[in-house]
Assembly symmetry: C2
Homo-oligomer: 123 residues x 2
């Protein structure tokens, strides 16, 4: 039933981040990059991270974050921007749809998770 070469590119991996099992799934759509980062097996808070077209200064791109599903907390926006901005930039400024279920949101953990996202590059 499944196609030998899938049309929708998707990669996933599982790594330890500060001793916590972390699963990352990245899927490419023409208008979005979809990334789930979960330390609970849940899809978690769903956030859209979009290049902000209102920004004037083209040398420093800014991003608009919006919580679509789940708890809307300031830290969520910070983590989402931090994790997804580089993906959006590398993917031709496509917005990123991010599912985030983290036990550990430390700067150190976020840095490690960015490396895991990079290892699942589909864009």
């Amino acid at each position: 039933m499944s196609t030998p070469e899938p049309i929708i590119k998707s990669k996933q991996t599982e790594k330890d981040v500060n001793g916590i099992s972390t699963q990352v799934v990245c899927t490419e759509f023409s208008n979005y990059i979809f990334i789930v980062i979960t330390q609970f097996g849940k899809i978690g808070t769903l956030i859209s991270v979009s290049p902000d077209s209102r920004a004037n200064d083209i040398t420093t791109p800014t991003f608009a974050t919006k919580v679509l599903l789940g708890k809307d907390e300031p830290l969520t926006h910070v983590c989402a921007k931090n994790l997804a901005s580089f993906v959006s930039q590398e993917a031709g400024n496509r917005p990123v749809l991010l599912g985030l279920a983290l036990k550990d949101s430390s700067i150190d953990a976020i840095k490690s998770i960015k490396e895991i996202i990079r290892s699942c590059q589909v864009w």
Copy 2:
């Protein structure tokens, strides 16, 4: 870098529905089933389909649909309910997160797409 047996179960396929190439991706999370059905390569309109806990009559379950991203049109809610209700019921009443990008929303097409979803069962 990738695990031999992925922890997050995901299946995808590509089929013709009334002559239109249709891609379906189903991914299982502990708290959601995530399904994208696309005839454009886009993630499309994002809808949550949840068993409605307010319903009194337990013999006929009802579902609440909410558009999280994209155009909020009545037909979208109808299609989403039609496509995702059986998945939610089969998956222990888990809600379904649905990405829907259809060129053809005819009853006939919806019926065929339900069969494709069934062939990508991850729940």
